[in-house]
Amino acid sequence: MSMFERKPLAALLGALALSAALSACHSQPVRNGQPLGLGTPVDAAQLAAWDIDIDADGRGLPPGSGTVAAGQRIYETRCIACHGAGGQNGIADRLAGGQGSLATKAPVRTVGSFWPYATTLFDYVRRAMPFDSPQSLTPDEVYAVSAYLLHLNGLLPADGRLDAASLPRVVMPNRDGFKVDDRPDVVGTRCLKDCTPGS
């Protein structure tokens, strides 16, 4: 500090300009819009344990299969405590029933009545269920318990089986029940004087 104080201002500015010029020789200014070269390349093998998403067409479904019967056994040991017998009356989300209720005053949204794609069921159960031990089921177990839940909703027979080919072909009752955001459907009005309340 004291060294700077003794120097005349002009000399100080000159020294600063020189050091700026020197440092410019050693570092590259980064141009906007150019990749910075940060980050590390990553390949499919490294990513395998994370790359678990299933899309609506079933891309990403792993090899394996499971039956409704095997699924019932898994459900009754791993799921029933929270979701209830037959997917109803548990402390967690209801998983069965409600078909035909969506346009009523008391709609019941479940996998069977509401979900548009069966692939979502596999994707979600594999990543997040059972709640107390996520990502602990094998692909065969996820196929099986998915098959059982679809069976509970009348979407797969008692002797049904699911695999990567058959799961995306399950036709969900509410498949065409969704439309992309079409708001504004409600337009407010800016009345200031003698307005009708609540209108």
Binding site: I52, A56, W115, P134, G177, D181, P184, R190, L192, P197
Partner: protein, 436 residues
């Protein structure tokens, strides 16, 4: 009806100052009109201060001894502010406390920035304790160079800081039902606003090189829900942030430490916390959180999907549900307004349940897709009143009434409630949630 007071005068050292450039002639009239009410205001002030007139001011203990030493490692609010905390909704007992929410105490915070410890929470599998050294953000799928970024990598990109609100799509959802006498925290507290710092997602996408056929990307969290949402690529390139800090410090664990997505103006759920992966693809994935949840069921049984933007909205936070006005006379009506479409242009306030409206004062600066503080002084004559606020945004969207919303959407759509809130003030001074 009790008259409005003029807004604080520009020469009175008021901290809430109207944007003068916006409407100079109207403002002048407002002040002149206010002069006529000055007599009434002065009378009320006299009545209010009479109570304290005989008070002798003592020298308290804290003036006669040393306070606590410096180096309080992380500062905490005064012990007298212990009621200002997040809470779960009154009467709610979440069966799974890790798949639950807590609400911001909107009536007890000031200005527009939510303190980090009070930002609302919504988790689907609890708050993970993520080691930032081990955490990675992977961007892959339809890209030229799949890359994995450490936090350290991300800190080397140009940092961007922006103030934006965050609101859960389910905020105010109990208002679809008959009015319950809840506080503003319980009714509307899934709402906060922070200065978010991070990297523009567009910058990262440039780094990996987006394939021409990519249209959507999947965002995935590293929590035990491994939560996923599909994001349109246009939004990702437009204004999405990969955030590592909020209000000047690293993200709080409950806000996604060490990394989260932030999509300004969009429903909170899609701003995926604990972000670990972005995968580019051609179509939405139809994940559970964009089919089973966060879709808006309409009376005909169909549902609106990918309803991302949060519409224009406002709420009076004081006086508000559960509070009691202590005395007649001057009150300060204050509240928050916001819109996922842009800036707040104006907020109107009614004290007679929506018959007549007066324009409130907006605290500046008014920022894009951020909470905006409004206020309006009010002389309460002790009679019944119903307070309402109505926001208008920079796109001309006007906040609708509850009945307009229900006429269009029924009562089962669960999300995206943005109706005008009504607070009834009883002669006792008690304030309750009502529907008019």
């Amino acid at each position: 009806m009790p008259p409005y007071l003029p807004p604080p005068g520009l020469d009175a050292g008021a901290d809430l100052v109207a944007d003068k450039s916006a409407k100079p002639p109207g403002r002048r009239r407002f002040l002149q009109g206010g002069a006529a009410l000055a007599g009434g205001a002065a009378a009320a002030t006299l009545a209010g201060s009479a109570r304290a007139a005989g008070e002798v001011l003592p020298v308290p203990a804290w003036t006669r001894s040393q306070g606590r030493p410096v180096a309080n490692p992380y500062g905490q609010p005064s012990g007298f502010e212990g009621r200002v905390i997040r809470r779960v909704r009154e009467g709610a007992q979440p069966p799974f406390p890790t798949a639950a929410s807590s609400l911001t105490p909107l009536a007890d915070i000031f200005g527009t920035i939510t303190p980090n410890g009070l930002v609302f929470e919504r988790h689907h599998a609890g708050i993970p304790d993520i080691d930032p050294e081990q955490h990675r953000l992977v961007i892959h799928g339809l890209v030229e160079r799949p890359l994995s970024f450490s936090l350290n990598d991300l800190l080397r990109f140009p940092a961007v800081s922006r103030v934006h609100f965050l609101e859960c799509a389910g905020n105010s959802g109990s208002e679809w039902r008959p009015a319950r006498k809840l506080t503003v925290q319980s009714l509307h507290g899934l709402l906060s606003c922070c200065e978010w710092t991070g990297v523009s997602l567009g910058t990262l996408l440039q780094e990996v090189g987006v394939a021409p056929e990519a249209k959507w990307l999947l965002a995935e969290g590293a929590d035990a829900a491994a939560m996923t949402r599909s994001v349109p690529l246009d939004k990702a390139l437009d204004d999405a942030l990969i955030v590592y800090a909020q209000n000047g410090e690293m993200l709080r664990p409950e806000q996604g430490y060490p990394l989260r997505l932030l999509l300004p103006g969009w429903e909170g759920n899609i701003s995926v916390k604990w972000l670990r992966r972005l995968k580019l693809g051609t179509a939405p994935w139809q994940s559970r959180q964009e089919t089973s949840k966060y879709t808006d069921l309409l009376p005909d049984g169909t549902s609106r999907q990918f309803s991302f933007v949060l519409d224009v909205k406002s709420v009076i936070t004081g006086p508000s549900g559960g509070q009691t006005l202590k005395s007649r006379g001057r009150q300060q009506i204050t509240g928050l307004a916001w819109s996922g479409h842009g800036r707040i242009r104006r907020v109107d306030v009614s004290i007679d349940g929506g018959r007549n409206w007066e324009e409130a004062v907006l605290q500046t600066p008014v920022l894009d897709r951020a909470l905006t503080r409004f206020s309006l002084p009010w002389l309460w004559d002790g009679g019944p009143a119903v307070l309402q606020s109505r926001a208008v945004d920079s796109h001309g969207n006007v906040q609708p009434t509850r009945s307009q919303l229900i006429a269009a959407r029924g009562t089962e759509s669960a999300y995206h409630y943005n109706g005008i809130q009504s607070w009834q003030v009883l002669p006792s001074g008690e304030v309750h949630n009502v529907h008019v």
